[in-house]
Symmetry: C2
Subunit: 354 residues, 2 copies
C-alpha cells in the first residue's frame, strides 16, 4: 500500500461549537482529525528538535511554570514535565485534548500537567504569570494559520518579565528554483486541451498560479543563493509586524532557467549555553519535515546566467476575510549583466495561501 | 519535486454562506478549492468513462434536455452538449461554477449549457422535467459525502417517466487483504513507545482503527474471493435504502494472514445497445482512480488457509450528526475447516468515514 493515504478532514459535530464563528470552527475542528497529529509525531525533525531544546536546558525548566500553547496530543508538555517543570498548563481548542488527557494520565503526568480546552484568549488560567511558553505554532510558509498570533497574546498576557519562549526565533528564507517539469504538470496542464478532453480550460491557469504549492523540493533545483527575508524575535515582535514587505537580491549560482521562488523557514530555541542551543531548518538542503517547502510559480520563465542578480520584493499579510489565510505579493526584476545582453524581465504576481 | 503536494483546503469567505448550516458550508466550500477539480480532471478513468458513456450513446442525448447534478468545472455538461443535447442545465453549489461559466463561454457552449449556482433543492429550474440526469456523485466507499441523495432528489423531482440516469448502477465490492506492513505503520505505531519518544500513546490505537483508510492497495494483497455486497439501481433506489446491512461469505484463495477488509465500487452507465455499454471499477485489479480503495483494519489477525471461508456482515448508515459522514459496522466470523483444527475467531468493529 502506498504511503500517500488521503483522509477527508471534517469536524466532530458532537461538540458544541455554536459559539464560534465559522472560520474558527473550520480551523479548530480540522485538528480534531487525528491524522495531523500522527503526521506531526512522525515528523522526527520537528519533535526531536523540541525535545532536545527542552532536555538540553533542564536547568531552565527546573521548578518552573510552563504554558504549552496549542498542546495537541501533549507531547511537548510531557517533555517539559520530564525536564523538571513544576507545573505545565496545556491549552488546546480541539477535542484532541480529550485524547491528550488519556495519554497524560497513562504516562503518569496527571499531577504535573493540567489540560485546558478552549481558546487561549478565553480559558481560565490557574496562574497570573508563567516562566516559560512552549508552542509548536508554525504553519506552511511559517505564518499560514496565524497561530503565532495566539502565542504573542499568551506572551503579552501571561509571560513573566524575563520569561522564555521555546522557540523564540523564526525566519523566512527564500531562493529561486528551476522546475520546468512540475510547473508543466501544475500550471501548463490547464492550457493543454489534449490533456483536458479537447476543451480550453485556460482560465484555470491564473487560479493554479495564485495558489502556492506546498511540496518537497530537491535542493538541486535551487539555482541562486538564498536569503533570509525576515526574522521574527518572539520576545519582542508584535502581531502587526507579522505583516511585512521586504526587498531581496539573489545571486544566480548556475546558468539556468528560473520558474519559481521557493520559501522555507528556520527555527531557533533559546538557551544560556552553547551546548544547549537547538536550531532546525525546513529548507530543501535539510531533512524532510511535514512543512515541506512552499513554491511560488512566476508567470514567466527567467533565463539567467551564473553571477547575475535577481532583485525583487515579497509582501505577506493576513487575508481580510479570514486572517488565518495569507495574501502574498511577489515582485521580481532581472537584467542581464553583459553590456550587449538584452535579457531583461520584471513582473509581479499575487498569491493566496489558504 | 514529488507529486504528493498538499494544499490546505479552506473555504472562500468572500461568498455569502450565512444561510447555510455549518455542515453544509464545510462540505460545499471544500469544493471551492480548485485542487479537487484538478484531481478529478486528471483522473482519466473517471472522466473518459463518462465521455464514452455519453459519446457512445449520442442517439440517446440528441435533442434532449439534460440535468447535470454537481457540475463542477462543467466537463460532463460539455460532453452532453457535444453529444447533441438540446439544452443542459448544470447545477453546483460551489463557487467553482464561476470558473465553469468562463470555460463554457470560452468553448462556445454558452447557448447550450445553463449554469445555476445553488443547492439543487433550491434552484429555480427552467424546465419542469428533464430527459436525462448526468452526475458524478461518487465518494470514497461510494457513499461518503452522500451526494447520491441529491441525485435521487433530482430524479424524483425532475426526471421524466422513462428518463435516463448516467450512471444508473453502482455497487460496493469487498475482499479481505493481507497487509502487515502498513497496519504496523498506521495502527501498531500507536502502541510502540520507541517511535513515540518513549511515551505510551496506546489510546490512539482505537482512534486509528476506527477511521477507514483511503489508499491504493496492490491487488496481490487480496487473499480471498471478492463479493458484491450491494448494488444500487439509481432508477428505483430510495434514500432510505442507501443505509444497509448485508451478510457476506468470502473464500480464502491462499494460505495467509488477514489484516483488513477492503472495499471498492463499480459503476455502470445505461445504454440500449451492447456497444454503448460503459462500466468501470475502482478495485485493486483495475487502473488507478482518485477514489483509490477503502481499508478497514480488523482489531485482530486471522490465520487462514486456502479453501476456507470467512463469513461476516457489513452495515453502513449516515452519521446522525453529519449525514455526509458514514457509520460503518463490520462483523467477521472464521472457523478453520479441518476437524482437529482449533483456529477460530469472530469479532466486530465500528468505523467512521469522515
Amino acid at each position: 500500500m502506498s504511503k500517500d493515504s488521503t483522509k477527508a478532514s471534517t469536524p466532530d459535530y458532537a461538540t458544541d461549537k455554536k459559539s464560534l464563528a465559522f472560520s474558527e470552527q473550520h480551523y479548530f475542528s480540522s485538528y480534531d482529525h487525528f491524522g495531523i497529529h500522527e503526521e506531526m509525531l512522525k515528523d522526527r525533525v520537528r519533535t526531536l528538535s523540541y525535545r532536545s531544546a527542552i532536555m538540553k536546558n533542564k536547568h531552565l525548566f527546573k521548578d518552573k511554570i510552563v504554558l504549552d500553547v496549542g498542546c495537541g496530543t501533549g507531547v511537548l508538555s510531557m517533555f517539559a514535565a520530564q525536564a523538571g517543570a513544576k507545573h505545565v498548563i496545556a491549552v488546546d481548542m480541539s477535542n484532541i485534548i480529550e485524547m491528550a488527557q488519556q495519554v497524560i494520565d497513562l504516562n503518569g503526568f496527571s499531577d504535573k500537567i493540567t489540560l485546558l480546552r478552549g481558546k487561549l484568549e478565553d480559558v481560565k488560567m490557574p496562574y497570573d504569570k508563567v516562566d516559560i511558553i512552549i508552542s509548536e505554532w508554525m504553519g506552511y510558509f511559517l505564518l499560514y494559520e496565524s497561530m503565532l498570533d495566539t502565542v504573542l497574546v499568551a506572551r503579552d498576557r501571561y509571560l513573566k518579565e524575563g520569561g522564555l519562549i521555546f522557540p523564540d526565533k523564526a525566519s523566512i528564507q527564500i531562493a529561486m528554483i528551476e522546475d520546468a517539469e512540475y510547473k508543466d504538470e501544475k500550471i501548463h496542464f490547464w492550457e493543454n486541451p489534449q490533456e483536458l478532453y479537447g476543451f480550453d480550460y485556460s482560465p484555470f491557469v491564473k487560479v493554479a498560479m495564485s495558489e502556492p504549492l506546498v511540496d518537497i523540493v530537491d535542493n538541486k533545483a535551487v539555482v541562486t543563493s538564498h536569503r533570509e527575508i525576515i526574522e521574527f524575535d518572539l520576545n519582542t515582535v508584535t502581531i502587526e509586524e507579522l505583516a511585512f514587505h521586504k526587498n531581496f537580491k539573489l545571486k544566480v549560482t548556475q546558468d539556468s532557467l528560473v520558474h519559481a521562488l521557493l520559501a522555507w523557514f528556520d527555527i531557533e530555541f533559546p538557551s544560556d549555553t552553547k551546548q544547549g542551543k537547538v536550531v532546525f531548518s525546513t529548507g530543501p538542503h535539510a531533512k524532510y519535515t511535514h512543512w515541506k517547502q512552499t513554491v511560488f510559480y512566476l508567470d514567466e520563465v527567467l533565463d539567467v546566467k551564473r553571477g547575475e542578480t535577481i532583485e525583487g520584493s515579497i509582501a505577506s499579510r493576513p487575508n481580510k476575510f479570514n486572517n488565518r489565510d495569507l495574501d502574498i505579493e511577489l515582485e521580481w526584476d532581472f537584467k542581464a549583466s553583459g553590456p550587449e545582453d538584452t535579457r531583461a524581465t520584471s513582473g509581479k504576481y499575487n498569491y493566496f495561501l489558504r
